[in-house]
Amino acid sequence: MKSDGLLSTMIAAAVRAGQLANDSLHDNLVAERKGSRRNVFSTMDLLLERFLVNELESRFENPVIVAEEERQDEMPDDGQFFTIDSLDGTVNYLHGLSDWAVSISWFEAYRPGAGVIFAPVSRELYYASQGLGAYMNQEKLSVSKRAYEDSLFCISLSAENGSNSNRSQQLELFQVVNESSRGVLRTGSAALNLARLARGRVDGAWGKDAKIWDIASGLVIASEAGARVWTSTINWQDFTLDYVVGNPENFQDLYARFRSFF
């Protein structure tokens, strides 16, 4: 598939979708559970996903798309496909909070190569493509230089309940890092965690059993902004992976702590 206009198209789609969602922010949206209490989706998630799929299909011929709610095409031989998280931070959205975003990524040879994240309430538009740098609106992004002890981190906790030991370990790791650094936030949006890491506003992020559509765009953006990134091998059955991302100064310390648990 040609990549002419790839990033621009992803930007256009993400912004239009975000504006649609923002216009409905205070409407009475139906929320349904997908399992645990925290794993919810709203009618907006599905509406937006269909909107985004339509946008990509109108611009590209037969795009392969892997999305959170509905569309999950078969993995192509060439490893080229889009991921869509139409509303990363659904719980925040349903509660009228501002930390939610539309997230689209593009994979080349099964590796994320371009990413766009749009947070409509704060008007933050993050975009990056491999080798071209990472940007938010006009600004070129660069990660922070804070050492581990002075760093503020973000954790992404899977909404699905993992095994008890896995969840307990995650919470223990949270405590360990929280007490040895400037702290750990749980913002409810993995995409925005990574985007703000790229911007230098937070200094690291990690997650266990994250879905690729949640974090792929953020990984590209953070990487292009100078972050150090580790991911586990992607489980292509359920599209999950683990990840640890930091700046060059704090990454080793964060990664070592993560690995001491997982």
């Binding site: 930007i11 256009a12 912004v15 538009l125 609106n137 070129k140």
Partner: protein, 366 residues
């Protein structure tokens, strides 16, 4: 012999600054991180030129040394001058070794000097206003004579009068009171910077390389002249500046832009459009100020849209193209310019959007 440290060996640093000391013996220590400029300066002297009514004049510039970082500058210079670009100014100041001699910023932004002074209270940093256009290059025959050649024009430099007794300054220096510095800065910001970059963006759309070439197009000329009128009116109403001073300044600027001897590259003037489109800067800031005093900035709005269309792969803000291609006009204004949809400028730009885009698309048509 005077020892002058100069950070930034571009158009101002190596093209204009030496002229300020032409009446005394001076040796210049340059800081430059562009390797190709660094290489051509690694010698004892180079020649720099200026355009005048008599054609080109030249002086020989004595090079005391060339280094890549401000921290490598000799700590015993009699004076330091910084003209390296507003985006890098904060990190330059941060890297300066503690020196006792004054540091004069000739950057195009007064606020960064104030911020730098707060960040480095151990340094004496002042704001100066070069009233000149300088090109970092020169026409072919002059470059053949000296690959380090630049061309500037006959100009002056306004510096705070407190610096009067520091070193033996040349005749092109004007020592100015705080009020006079303010007047000159307002004029430079809005009667030079604003129409200058508009001329560059329009010239770029016409495929021109040097600024004066764009003025062969009467449509371009008319827009730039109109922007000068809008700013003259704004400065008079908003800041109460003297109208004859403003009109004379505006006429002078228009003549400068058309100087065929200057060879001012459009790429230099137009560079970093995001910086120029920043909220309180020479395009959006100028337009908002105009609207605030009842002046409709039609020409400046044309310039703003022309800046949106600037597209050079080697420009630091080349990523503008993704936003231009991906966003509709309203989203572009909100997300890229940070304009509130409730603002007068937002509405005005949107109203004129398609008309302006048509005009710009047909800039070269008869």
């Amino acid at each position: 012999m005077l020892r002058i440290g100069v950070v930034g060996a571009g158009a101002i640093g190596r093209g204009f600054v030496p002229w300020l000391f032409r009446s005394q013996e001076a040796s210049f220590f340059f800081v430059e991180n562009n390797v190709s400029i660094l290489q051509v300066l690694k010698r004892d002297t180079f020649t720099t030129f200026r355009s005048s009514k008599r054609g080109y004049e030249s002086i020989s510039v004595s090079v005391g040394g060339v280094v890549q970082s401000a921290k490598e500058l000799p700590g015993d210079c009699d004076f330091y001058i910084v003209a390296a670009g507003t985006r890098v100014f904060p990190e330059i100041v941060e890297s300066f070794a503690p020196v006792s001699a004054p540091i004069l910023s000739l950057e195009n932004d007064r606020s960064i000097v104030q911020a730098a002074s707060r960040a480095r209270p151990d340094l004496e940093i002042f704001f100066g206003i070069p009233d000149v256009i300088a090109s970092p290059t020169a026409p072919g025959p002059l470059l053949q004579e000296d690959p380090a050649a630049c061309v500037t024009e006959v100009g002056t430099c306004y510096i705070p009068e407190i610096l009067g007794g520091t070193i033996p300054w040349g005749p092109d220096i004007v020592f100015a009171s705080e009020e006079a510095m303010h007047e000159q800065w307002m004029a430079k910001l809005f009667l030079h910077n604003t129409p200058h970059c508009i001329a560059a963006y329009l010239g770029s759309l016409s495929g021109k390389t040097f600024l004066h070439e764009g003025f062969e197009n009467p449509k371009l000329s008319k827009v730039v002249e109109a922007s000068v009128s809008e700013m003259t009116e704004m400065l008079g109403r908003k800041h109460g500046l003297d109208s004859s001073f403003l009109e004379s300044y505006g006429r002078k600027e228009l003549e400068r832009f058309k100087d065929r001897l200057l060879f001012d590259p459009i790429a230099r003037v137009a560079r970093e459009p995001f910086r120029k489109l920043a909220p309180r800067e020479r395009l959006v800031g100028a337009a908002e100020l105009a609207l605030s005093v009842g002046v409709v900035p039609r020409a400046i709005q044309t310039g703003i849209l022309a800046a949106f269309l600037y597209d050079r792969a080697d420009d630091a803000d080349w990523h503008l193209r993704f936003l231009r291609e991906g966003l509709d006009p309203a989203a572009f204004l909100e997300i890229v310019l940070g304009l509130s949809p409730a603002s007068a400028l937002f509405g005005s730009l949107l109203d004129d959007w398609h008309g302006n885009m048509d005009f710009l698309a047909n800039l070269d048509a008869e």
